[in-house]
């Protein structure tokens, strides 16, 4: 399974995502410069965290116009797996690949901590290896993770099982319905504020992130077997 990690000016978790794929899956993974628009050679895309274009204007707003986003759009349409982490999630929202928008954390501070989450939907390519309703711990690190969508969108998300992760305990940013991560209707595009790639080794404080990556691989292997 070949992974692409697009690098925007200001991305800073690109290397972490690459390390995690190598560490957990041992699969080929490549950094792709934002000027490149052809992602056909990849099976999955991970949009990394960071501050693309300084997060100026709005988080993710300037990055979405990078050529590489054409490739991401196409890959999403082809049903390939797209994972947006933190800033990557924000880019997916701005690009319209996921519904809703991001606001500043309600307490107005940047927040870095290890947070408890519940896996709300374990039938997705990204969550196969979790149990339904399982409590897990992922680190967060963001100033704008206060997810917003209108009522109508929210009920649609709920009804379709598109809310993938929710904060349990304290909501660290004020997001609507304690949302930490959502997917598209088809289930092949996931965006989340917490950082699974920061929770893959014993000394990191949690290893719960590993299974997000192993799920992706298992899903892909299953699909390729059929094909």
């Amino acid at each position: 399974m070949r992974f692409a990690v697009p690098v925007f000016p200001g991305s800073n978790c690109d290397v972490d995502c690459i390390k995690a794929v190598k560490e957990v899956l041992g699969q080929p993974v490549e950094a792709v410069w934002h000027q490149e628009s052809d992602l056909d050679r990849f099976d999955a895309v991970i949009l990394p965290g960071g501050f693309s274009y300084g997060d100026y204007l709005r988080t993710g707003a300037l990055a979405r116009f990078s050529p590489v986003m054409e490739g991401v759009q196409k890959a999403a349409e082809q049903g390939k797996l797209i994972l947006g982490i933190c800033n990557g999630f924000q880019v997916l929202l701005e690009a319209g690949l996921l519904p809703g928008a991001m606001r500043r954390n309600d307490h107005l501070q940047f927040r870095c901590s290890i947070q408890s989450l519940r896996v709300e939907n374990n039938r997705l390519p990204f969550t196969l290896d979790y149990r339904a309703g399982e409590d897990i711990r992922f680190p967060i690190a963001h100033g704008e993770g206060n997810y917003y969508c209108d009522e109508e969108t929210l009920s649609r998300l709920e009804a379709n099982g598109q809310i993938v992760f929710r904060y349990t305990g304290e909501n660290p940013n004020g997001s609507v319905a304690d949302i930490a991560g959502i997917c598209n209707e088809r289930g092949n595009v996931l965006g989340l504020m917490p950082h699974p790639e920061r929770a893959v080794l014993d000394w990191m404080g949690s290893e719960d992130g590993r299974r997000l990556f192993t799920s992706m691989l298992r899903y892909w292997e299953g699909k390729s077997d059929v094909a």
Binding site: N12, Y53, D55, F110, A141, G143
Partner: protein, 754 residues
């Protein structure tokens, strides 16, 4: 479109500058002005006076502190680069070096806390990557007034937000630091930022201009009028007119910094650079002059080529601007295009602004005319040096007879423990560090909250431990002892996390050196630090001096800050302060005496600062550190915590917080319970060890000649302490933790009810 000129330019003639003494406004003395005339053999013009005044400011020339800094040990088997470059470098094996430095941004923070603190972080990051190193961690050391003042809350909140913002955007984890509050920092807060980087030996860069005819390339943000005379500003007392100097504050762009960082490291990787230096204090002036001086060359620049943000900037303004996120590069003639390609890829503005020359002069052109022509060595090597007068202050003599220990002996331990844990100098700093991304780059093995932070060295089994430490109260009471303690405590913190201390960087935050009492404090502190560094074999490989930290004649507490780096040989050795297992045996290493001068207990109970600080026996300190490290390396230690602020009682409580574990402790002592529990005697460490190993560890420690006694065990969810058979403390860990965790958020949000 460039914004219209915002100030009218009025440049007095050389004769007028001399006749009216206008150089004094730039912080230059009459004698210094005479020296400039001597060096030039004529009267300097306005631009030249500006250049001399910033180059000869304390910030750039260390004219007051140089004779003292020579006392620091700067050599050792691991030293690859001592003081003198952007940052120091120490060998850590595998052909790798650790590069690190601390720097102050005190005055800018007092004036504009968010940008002031943020640009402090930006500057220190550039210092590290200008050495060719990839920055892997940030730390800081902060001092503010007490939080009952809304102004101080504003300053503190904004400074922390600024530090957080800059590091978070660039994507370097902020893994540690320290914060203290004292009313003596009310008008003059301290913001010291430290950056740690990693580089392969052969990639280590220098800020040097060599090769006559080679191009000098400017890269990064365009030059604006911000921060003009920042270096001079940093070298003056903050007075009533600091408000007027406000334009001297720069705004930072961490996004630009990230691009600059990646582009410069790409150039380093390609091996194209001959010299690289960041434009920090005194901007283009300092970087060009220093690079030429180090290369034994000259530099000629055409200021019209310098990318500018505002219209109509004068040579004076261009040379003295402290606009952020700018670097100066020297490359081999003919390789400009290669450089250009990399810089363009990162979308960075750049321009060839000059050439290296062979005549040893800094020559500047503007509008086709020569506007400055100065022998480089007179700017760098011939800066004045002052041997200031020292005088032992009266307070120091008077304190000799003060005995805070007597007044504090009969305090109730349970009551004061609550007070101490809820006092802001001991309370959890989570409110601060949860605003810092401390995990980006996924190498942070020990996050903020333990004695030292630990960052993994990718691709090896090793790790780096690092911390910052300072104690203005001890240093005030006895600068020599206090200076030594700052080094010893930093080393102890690093040892407790499983590392061998390698070396330090330091920032000397003091008052006005022209006052003999102030200079005495500085000299004594440097003496104490030097002695400790020599003893502990931790050379000083870089640092920074920030003097004139005074407002209306009142100085801050003298505050040398030590940034220490240590090497952990195997990740198996990584140790934290947290209790891990019920039943583990608690061992107290070192001797406890009645020593409470400058302690937290004194501060909390009496609010005074009196007596003498704890004594430090460097011989014992070294043995203690060797003993602890040996025990850790043998895999026999579950947790290690050095005893510092608040002594044993605080160490016991803190060690239990992370995992909600209590302890049952029994102590026999001749001291009053409060004295024993809150004494801040040095060279002490608390270990928890597997009961099976307890005896072996005791023997090992004793073989190093260090007293070691079992004082109880990790147990339950209460902290229970008996002294001489009497229960003096019995509290749930949860209740103590609530006090400790709640104090800072509550102080920052005084109107909230929760």
């Amino acid at each position: 479109m460039l914004p219209e000129q915002t100030t009218t330019v009025w440049e007095p003639s050389p004769e007028k500058i001399q006749a009216e003494g206008l150089y004094r406004d730039m912080g230059m003395t009459d004698e210094e002005f005479e020296q400039v005339i001597g060096h030039l053999g004529r009267l300097p013009n306005w631009t030249e006076v500006g250049i001399y005044s910033v180059m000869w400011s304390e910030h750039c020339s260390y004219k007051n502190s140089k004779p003292l800094l020579r006392r620091f040990p700067v050599e050792g088997p691991h030293v690859l680069q001592g003081p003198g470059e952007g940052a120091g470098a120490l060998d850590i094996g595998n052909n790798q070096a650790v590069v690190f430095k601390v720097e102050s941004h005190n005055h800018p923070t007092a004036v504009e806390p968010f940008q002031g603190a943020a640009t402090g972080v930006g500057g220190i990051i550039r210092d590290v990557f200008s050495m060719g190193a990839r920055p892997v961690a940030l730390l800081n050391s902060l001092r503010f007034g007490t939080l009952d003042s809304p102004r101080v809350r504003y300053l503190f909140e904004q400074a922390v937000a600024g530090i957080a913002h800059y590091g978070n955007v660039v994507g370097i984890p902020t893994v540690g630091g320290e914060v203290e509050f004292d009313r003596r920092y009310e008008e003059n807060p301290l913001v010291n930022a430290m950056c740690v980087g990693i580089v392969d030996h052969d990639k280590l860069q220098k800020g040097v201009a060599s090769g006559i005819g080679n191009p000098v390339i400017y890269v990064g943000s365009s030059t604006g009028r911000d921060g003009i005379h920042g270096a001079t500003f940093a070298s003056e007392e903050l007075g009533e007119d600091s408000e007027e100097k406000r334009p001297a504050v720069q705004a930072g762009d961490p996004f630009m910094e990230k691009l600059l960082l990646e582009a410069c490291l790409e150039l380093v990787e390609k091996g194209i650079l001959i010299g690289i230096q960041d434009m920090g204090a005194a901007g283009l002036t300092c970087s060009s002059a220093e690079m030429a001086a180090k290369g034994g060359t000259g530099i000629e620049m055409d200021l019209d080529q310098v990318p500018q943000r505002e219209k109509g900037m004068t040579p004076y303004e261009i040379m003295l601007s402290e606009s952020q996120e700018r670097m100066l590069l020297v490359v081999e003639e003919g390789r400009q295009d290669e450089v250009r390609q990399v810089l363009d890829k990162w979308n960075l503005p750049s321009a060839v602004v000059g050439r290296v020359t062979g005549d040893g002069r800094l020559r500047l052109r503007h509008g086709g005319e020569i506007v400055a022509d100065i022998p480089v060595n007179t700017l760098v090597d011939d800066a004045p040096v002052y041997h200031r007068e020292q005088r032992e202050p009266a307070y120091y003599r008077e304190n000799a007879s003060a005995r805070p220990e007597e007044a504090l002996a009969d305090q109730n331990p349970a009551q004061v423990l609550r007070k101490v844990l809820g006092s802001l100098n001991v309370a959890s700093k989570r409110w601060v560090y949860q605003q810092y991304d401390h995990m980006v780059r996924t190498n942070t093995a020990v996050r903020p909250g333990s004695d030292a932070a630990v960052v993994m060295l990718e691709g090896t089994d090793k790790a780096l431990a690092m911390c910052t430490d300072g104690n203005g109260r001890y240093v005030y009471l006895n600068p020599r002892e206090g200076g030594a303690i700052a080094v010893a405590e930093a080393a102890r913190n690093v040892v407790c996390s499983g590392a061998r201390p390698l070396g330090i960087t330091d920032c000397l935050n003091f008052g006005n050196p022209e006052k003999p009492e102030g200079f005495w404090q500085l000299a004594q502190a440097v003496e104490g630090m030097s002695e400790a560094c020599r003893f502990l074999e931790t050379p000083v490989v870089g640092g920074n001096v920030s003097l004139y930290n005074e407002t209306r004649g009142e100085a801050i507490l003298p505050t040398p800050v030590v940034g220490m780096v240590g090497l952990i040989e195997s990740r198996e050795h990584i140790t934290t302060q947290d209790f891990r297992q019920e039943g583990d045996v608690l061992l107290l290493l070192g001797e406890t005496r009645a020593e409470l001068g400058g302690s937290v207990l004194e501060q909390v109970v009496t609010g005074e600062l009196s007596g003498r600080p704890p004594r430090l026996d460097l011989e014992k300190e070294k043995k203690l550190q060797e003993a602890v490290l040996a025990a850790i390396r043998q895999g026999k230690v579950r947790s290690a915590h050095d005893l510092s602020s608040g002594g044993l009682a605080v160490a016991l409580a803190e060690s239990g917080f992370a995992n909600g574990l209590g302890a049952e402790v029994e102590l026999d002592t001749e001291l009053a319970p409060a004295l024993f529990l809150f004494s801040e005697s040095q060279s002490r460490v608390l270990l928890s060890v597997d009961p099976q190993q307890a005896e072996a560890v005791q023997e090992l420690i004793a073989s190093h000649g260090i007293p070691c006694r079992p004082i109880g065990r990790v147990a339950g969810d209460r902290l229970q302490i008996q002294v001489n058979g009497q229960q003096v403390i019995d509290e749930t860990v949860a209740a103590l933790k609530a006090i400790w965790e709640g104090a800072l958020p509550c102080a920052m949000n005084p109107s909230s009810t929760n």
